[in-house]
């Protein structure tokens, strides 16, 4: 069975229909990259996958369990799905280590010592072991985003969602974050990534989906979608992206 199954997903905000029937399956260990023009609904799709938004219509099933608007079920879903935001959203009042250990302690109920050991392991994973005692504001954007990844990983999620994780970063800081994500993919983590980093998509993704106006317009292997797009909208979008 697929890890993530999305069937005929519609999402409306009032009269605005942002998702207009999305179907998607993600297999364990698969890395899926989403591309598409601004406003086409990529973020909304990821937010539906991690339970921050509820479907207006259709179904989202993660690990065989359908997403329901019920507090306990939602919390369970949140635990299985890790989310990394464009704006990092570290907790500014907590040290780097506490950012990582807060949820394991409060949600999973890990004892302090165990949580700290876990937190340090996660920080090693993103190459920030030495920053455990620092405050978020003392870190560069790239470092902050890596802490955010460690924070999500500490909950041992089954799938990781990344919503444009590098687009708020200075160009010279993008590489270190992508490197961490590459390593994660190599370890076999299931990942859904919204990004405009075409190099990363070509190297790492198993599948690329092109979205437009709330629908998946084209999908396939990265080579095919990115180099020989079939759909005119995809071609238009990629041409504009490359010209930049």
């Amino acid at each position: 069975m697929s890890l993530v199954e999305v069937r005929n997903l519609h999402k409306r905000f009032g009269t605005l229909e942002v998702l207009r029937g999305v179907d998607l399956t993600v297999e364990p260990g698969e890395v899926v990259v989403f591309v598409g023009p601004s406003g086409c609904g990529k973020s909304t799709l990821l937010r539906c996958l991690c339970g921050l938004e509820m479907p207006s219509e259709g179904e989202v099933v993660v690990g065989g369990v359908p997403v329901r608007d019920e507090p306990k079920a939602l919390q369970a879903l949140h635990r299985r799905v890790g989310m990394v935001f464009q704006r990092f959203l570290l907790f500014p009042h907590l040290s780097v280590l506490d950012n990582v250990t807060l949820a394991p302690r409060k949600v999973l109920g890990l004892p302090d010592a165990e949580a700290e050991a876990l937190g340090r392991r996660m920080l090693e994973l993103v190459h920030l072991g030495e920053k455990a005692g620092a405050w978020p504001e003392q870190l560069s954007g790239g470092q902050q985003q890596r802490v955010a990844i460690a924070r999500a990983l500490a909950m041992k999620p089954e799938v990781m969602l990344f919503d444009e994780p590098t687009s708020a970063l200075d160009p010279e800081l993008v590489g270190e974050v992508l490197e961490v994500m590459r390593e994660l993919a190599r370890e076999g983590m299931t990942m859904c990534v919204v990004t405009h980093e075409m190099g990363f998509a070509e190297d790492v993704a198993h599948r690329v989906l092109f979205m437009d106006a709330g629908k998946v317009v084209e999908e396939g292997a990265p080579q095919q979608v990115l180099r020989e797009p079939k759909h005119p909208r995809t071609r238009e979008f990629l041409a504009r992206l490359l010209r930049r």
Binding site: Q75, G82, P92, V107, A152
Partner: protein, 489 residues
């Protein structure tokens, strides 16, 4: 300022309409006190509770921490005649009649002039003192010889006193009203007025004790009577008091008391050495400040958690609870603190049948009031935290309560520190309003000293200094705290 209170004295002012409201409420509920000993007319071995506003020498004032004056000594004599003990409550004139009606004490002896209006609502004893109005002027100003000479000039009076009735017949006298008589006299001394019209004994007292540059101009303009006030239905007590007055007159003790306060000897008595006894003043103000600080601290301590609960209550999914919390905030922010204090102390006991001690009522009123403001501060503080923070917390599997407790509130606390400090300072100053239920906090202590020493110019700046002593460290503390939290992030 968000809360406003005009202190008034000896008189019914428009601001006291709300007291009328409370009265109406008391009547409407038809509450009757359980039978008190007064209704049996037998006071032997019992305690006669008397209310007064001790800012009106020579009738009542605070001297060396003790009540003193003509009314105070007369009250003691009456109690002695009845074989009763006496217990005084010193409270502001604004609050003295509602407290009487609420059964907080049995009598009011506070130089209360008998007017037809008051006689409709209150029970008066036989008159025990005949007062009258007179005119005070600057000692060197020979133009002023009496009321006639004030035509075309400016006269000061105390707000809504019977002096206003006298001056009604002289439309060509320009009248300025003052909240208390010592402030009118000060303005006369400063040259802004040509004369002050007021109760002769009190004008005389102030002039001999603190305003040596002034003089009174002879004859009495009116004849007014002071009476001892009881609840209208308390006829047995009224008769007992009248009997005691009669016996005191017959035995000559009443005349002796009059002689002591108003006789030739008193007039001629060498004026007390002038100058403000600063040691005593400082001690008295320090006591007032201690009470002010205690009231504020207790109310804040209780108001902070209550306000937080109300702020969180407004966010819960349960509609009725959220609505209730919103209504609480609106009700307490939308009504004056003074009304709330009066309601809790005077009306609540009648409605619920519980009697609150003044201290408890004061803390309760200030707590409930500040909690409403604290709730709004917390609400704004929570709203100012990036909503992404709550999403990040939820995406990690935290419940809404966990996200609030571990992520949102710690960040909100930084935002709310400055407004919370302001609330603390506002509360500290607003706590002066509880003087209406007889709490002798700093402002009330100042009122008592200013009138007793006839030295408003010296006392009020000192009161201000004492308030600053309390508020300055508070603002300092807050900014230090803010800096420390700033460093921590």
């Amino acid at each position: 300022m968000r809360r406003f209170h005009s202190s008034c004295h000896r008189a019914w002012t428009p601001g006291l309409a709300l007291l009328g409201l409370v009265w109406g409420l008391l009547w409407a509920t038809g509450c009757r006190e359980p039978e008190r000993p007064s209704e049996r007319g037998d006071w032997k071995g019992r305690t006669l509770r008397i209310g007064t506003d001790a800012t009106y020498p020579p009738f009542e004032s605070v001297r060396d921490g003790e009540l003193a004056g003509f009314d105070i000594e007369l009250g003691a004599l009456i109690a002695e005649e009845l074989g009763a003990k006496v217990a005084w409550t010193n409270t502001s004139f604004d609050g003295v009649f509602p407290a009487l009606m609420a059964g907080k004490f049995d009598l009011v002896m506070s130089a209360v002039t008998m007017t037809p209006e008051r006689q409709q609502r209150l029970g008066f004893s036989d008159p025990y003192y005949t007062a009258g109005q007179t005119v005070a002027a600057r000692a060197g100003d020979a133009r002023i010889t009496g009321l006639e000479s004030l035509r075309g000039k400016v006269a000061g009076i105390q707000l809504n006193t019977t002096a206003a009735l006298v001056l009604k017949q002289y439309p060509d006298v320009e009248v300025r009203q003052y909240p208390s008589i010592d402030l009118a006299l000060q303005d006369l001394l400063n040259g802004n007025l040509d004369g002050v019209v007021g109760d002769a004994p009190t004008l005389h007292y102030f002039i001999t004790h603190g305003f040596q540059g002034l003089r009174t101009t002879g004859g009495l303009l009116t004849e007014e009577h002071y009476g001892i006030v009881s609840k209208p239905e308390d006829t047995a007590l009224r008769e007992a008091v009248n009997g005691a007055l009669r016996r005191l007159r017959e035995s000559g003790r009443f005349a002796a008391l009059e002689e002591k306060y108003f006789g030739e000897a008193a007039r001629r008595a060498p004026v007390e050495p002038t100058g403000v006894p600063w040691g005593r003043v400082a001690r008295r103000l320090a006591q007032g400040l201690a009470l002010t600080l205690g009231l504020t601290a207790l109310s804040l301590l209780a108001g902070l958690p209550l306000g937080l609960v109300v702020a969180l209550g407004r966010r819960v999914r349960m509609r009725p609870l959220a609505w209730l919390c919103a209504a609480y905030v609106e009700a307490l922010r939308g009504t004056p603190l003074l009304v709330q204090i009066i309601f809790i102390y005077y009306a609540l006991p009648q409605l619920l049948g519980v009697d609150l001690a003044p201290m408890l009522a004061a803390v309760l009123a200030l707590t409930l009031n500040s909690a409403a403001y604290v709730a709004e501060i917390f609400r704004a503080g929570i709203a100012s935290v990036d909503p992404g923070q709550s999403e990040a917390a939820r995406a990690l599997g935290m419940s809404p309560a966990q996200a609030m407790r571990h992520v949102i509130l710690p960040q909100a606390v930084r935002n709310v520190l400055p407004p919370l400090t302001n609330e603390g300072i506002a509360l500290l100053k607003d706590s002066s309003l509880v003087s209406i239920i007889g709490m002798a906090e700093l402002t009330r202590a100042g009122q008592e000293l200013a009138s007793q020493l006839a030295a408003p110019l010296a006392i009020w700046p000192a009161v201000a200094v004492f308030y600053l002593l309390a508020t300055l460290p508070l603002t300092r503390l807050a900014s230090a705290l803010e800096r420390r939290l700033q460093r921590q992030r």
